[in-house]
C-alpha cells in the first residue's frame, strides 16, 4: 500500500501498565477515507490502542503517523493542532455535565476553532438536528436525557468541527438494539457526508458489519487478522471464527478464563 493512501500508520506500538503488557509491537494501517472497525474481546487492548492514537495515553514505544505526521511524543499546541483534525465519540458519551446540550455540541467550535457563541450555537443546533434531536432539546442538560440521546449529542460534538478522522469507542454499548441500529446509521451517514476516515472500536459484530468497510481483530495486544467486512465469515482465521460465533472453545480460551476469574 502506498504511504499516501494511508491516513493512520501504526508501527511497533507497545504499551504496558506495570507488568501488564496491553499492546505489543502492534502494526496497523488505516486507509484514507475508509471505515475500519477493530473488534476483540474485553481486555485485549482496543480502547488502549484508541487512546494512544488520540493522545490520551502515551505509548512506551512505536510510531503513530496521522496524515504522514508523527504524533508520538507531540504535546502542547502541536498536539492541539493535530487533534483539530480528529473527532471522537466516547463509550459513555463523556458529555460535560455542567453545559447544556448545544454547548456540548459546540464545544470544539468555540474552544479550538474560536467561533463566537451565537454562531457556534446556530451551528450546534444544526448538528443536533442531524443526529435526530430538536432545537427544543438544545438547552437541556446531559442528565435530562437518555443514554441513547447522550450518544447522539456525543456524535454531534464529534462531527461539529468537521474533522478528517472520526473515532468511535464502543458506540452501541449500553443502549438497546434499536437505538444501536440508529446510532450505527447515523455514524455511517456522518462519516459519508464528511468524507472522513473512521476508526471504530467494538465487540458488537452486528454494529461492526453495519459500520465497517474493513475489520481488524486484536488479541493480546496484536492485530491477528485484517480483512474486508464481506470476508469475515469465510476468513479461515481461528480467532475470528471463535469471536463471531461467541464460542468458549478456541485460541482465546485462556483470555476468556482470565476474564471469567476476575
Amino acid at each position: 500500500m502506498s504511504e499516501a493512501a494511508v491516513k493512520i500508520a501504526i508501527r511497533g506500538l507497545s504499551k504496558s501498565f506495570g507488568a501488564n503488557h496491553v499492546l505489543t509491537e502492534l502494526d496497523l494501517d488505516i486507509r484514507d477515507g475508509e471505515s475500519l472497525v477493530i473488534i476483540g474481546a474485553s481486555g485485549t487492548g482496543k480502547s488502549v490502542l484508541l487512546k494512544n492514537i488520540v493522545g490520551i495515553l502515551t505509548p512506551d514505544s512505536g510510531s503513530i503517523k496521522i496524515a504522514g505526521e508523527e504524533v508520538v511524543g507531540v504535546t502542547g499546541n502541536s498536539r492541539d493542532r493535530i487533534n483539530r483534525k480528529l473527532g471522537m465519540l466516547f463509550q459513555g458519551a463523556a458529555l460535560f455535565d455542567s453545559l447544556p446540550l448545544w454547548e456540548n455540541a459546540a464545544f470544539g467550535l468555540m474552544s479550538s476553532h474560536r467561533m463566537g457563541r451565537d454562531e457556534a450555537r446556530k451551528k450546534a443546533i444544526d448538528f443536533l438536528k442531524q443526529v435526530g434531536l430538536s432545537e427544543a432539546d438544545a438547552n437541556r442538560y446531559p442528565s435530562d436525557i437518555s443514554a441513547g440521546a447522550q450518544k447522539r449529542v456525543g456524535l454531534a460534538r464529534a462531527i461539529a468541527t468537521e474533522p478528517e478522522i472520526l473515532f468511535f469507542d464502543e458506540p452501541t454499548t449500553g443502549i438497546d438494539p434499536v437505538m444501536g441500529d440508529i446510532i450505527d446509521s447515523l455514524i455511517v451517514s456522518c462519516v459519508r457526508n464528511l468524507g472522513a476516515t473512521a476508526l471504530t472500536i467494538t465487540h458488537d459484530m452486528e454494529s461492526a458489519r453495519r459500520i465497517g468497510d474493513r475489520v481488524a481483530m486484536i488479541y493480546e495486544g496484536k492485530i491477528v487478522w485484517v480483512g474486508d467486512v464481506a470476508e469475515i465469515d469465510d476468513s479461515g482465521n481461528a480467532f475470528i471464527h471463535q469471536f463471531i460465533h461467541g464460542s468458549v472453545e478456541g485460541p482465546m480460551a485462556s483470555l476468556i478464563a482470565a476474564n471469567a476469574s476476575v
Binding site: 487512546k51 480528529l86 466516547f90 463523556a94 455542567s98 474552544s111 479550538s112
Partner: protein, 257 residues
C-alpha cells in the same frame, strides 16, 4: 528488614506524591498567565468560592467573635484587665481566627466540591474528551479554580474580620456592659495594618492550597464512585493540614522577632 523496607516504600511514595503535586502546581500556575483565558469559567468560580461561601464564613466569624469576647473577658477579669478584651478580639480575629477558620470552612465546602466535580469528570472520561477537543484540562479546569481561590478567600476573610469583630462588640456591649465608644476606640487603638494584611496574605495562600488540593485529588482520582469519594476526603484532609502548617510558617515569617 521488612520494617525498614516498608518505611522506605512509604517514604519513596511520599516523595513521589510530593513531586507529582509540585509538577501539577507548576503546570497549573503556568496556565494561569498564558492565553487562552476563560473569563466565564473564572467568574463562575469567583461566585462559587466567594459569594456562596459568605454565609458559612460569616456565621463562623460572628460566633467566633462572640465566644472570644466571652472567654477573654472571663480570663482578663481575674487580672482586672477587662479593657484588653477589644484588642484581643480584633487581633485574634484578624491575625489568626478569621483566615484559619474561614480556610477550614471553605476547604470543607469548596475543596470537597472541586475534588468531586473534577473526579467525576475524570472517571466519566470528560477530561479525556477535553483533550481530544484541543482544550488543555489544566487551563480549562484547574487554572480558573486556583486563581479564584487565591483572589476570593482574602475577600471572604476581610468580611469575616468585620463580622467577627462585630460579634465581639455585640457581646461586650450588650452582655458584658462595655461602653460602645470605648470598646470601638480600644479596637482601633492597637490594630495595625500588618495585622489585617498578614491575615489576608494567609487567606490568599489558603485559598490557593484549597483549590490546589481539590483539583489535584480530583484530577488523579480513579476507580469510579469509590475513587471519587476517596479523592473528596483526601482533598479536605490534606487542605486542612496544609492550612494549619502554612499558618504557622506565614505567622513565623510575619511576626518572628
Amino acid at each position: 528488614m521488612g520494617l525498614l523496607a516498608a518505611i522506605g516504600r512509604v517514604f519513596i511514595s511520599f516523595l513521589a506524591a510530593t513531586g507529582r503535586l509540585a509538577v501539577f502546581a507548576g503546570i497549573s500556575v503556568s496556565h494561569i498567565v498564558r492565553p487562552p483565558f476563560y473569563p466565564r469559567l473564572l467568574l463562575r468560580q469567583i461566585i462559587e468560592i466567594g459569594y456562596y461561601s459568605l454565609p458559612v464564613v460569616g456565621l463562623t466569624a460572628v460566633f467566633t467573635g462572640m465566644v472570644l469576647a466571652l472567654q477573654s473577658y472571663t480570663g482578663f477579669a481575674r487580672f482586672n484587665a477587662e479593657s484588653a478584651v477589644a484588642t484581643v478580639v480584633v487581633l485574634s480575629i484578624t491575625r489568626e481566627l478569621a483566615p484559619v477558620l474561614a480556610g477550614l470552612m471553605v476547604a470543607g465546602r469548596i475543596g470537597a466540591a472541586m475534588a468531586a466535580e473534577i473526579g467525576t469528570m475524570r472517571v466519566t472520561e470528560q477530561i479525556d474528551a477535553l483533550s481530544t477537543l484541543s482544550t488543555n484540562p489544566y487551563k480549562y479546569l484547574v487554572a480558573p479554580r486556583l486563581l479564584a481561590g487565591f483572589v476570593m478567600l482574602p475577600c471572604c476573610v476581610l468580611v469575616a474580620d468585620i463580622i467577627g469583630v462585630f460579634g465581639g462588640y455585640l457581646i461586650s456591649v450588650h452582655k458584658l456592659g462595655f461602653n460602645p465608644s470605648v470598646y470601638i476606640k480600644n479596637t482601633w487603638q492597637f490594630l495595625e495594618v500588618m495585622d489585617v494584611l498578614s491575615g489576608l496574605v494567609k487567606a490568599a495562600v489558603f485559598g490557593f492550597l484549597i483549590a490546589l488540593m481539590g483539583c489535584y485529588h480530583g484530577y488523579y482520582s480513579k476507580g469510579g464512585a469509590q475513587g471519587v469519594g476517596s479523592a473528596t476526603t483526601n482533598a479536605v484532609v490534606s487542605a486542612s493540614i496544609l492550612i494549619l502548617a502554612f499558618n504557622y510558617l506565614i505567622t513565623e515569617a510575619f511576626f518572628a522577632q
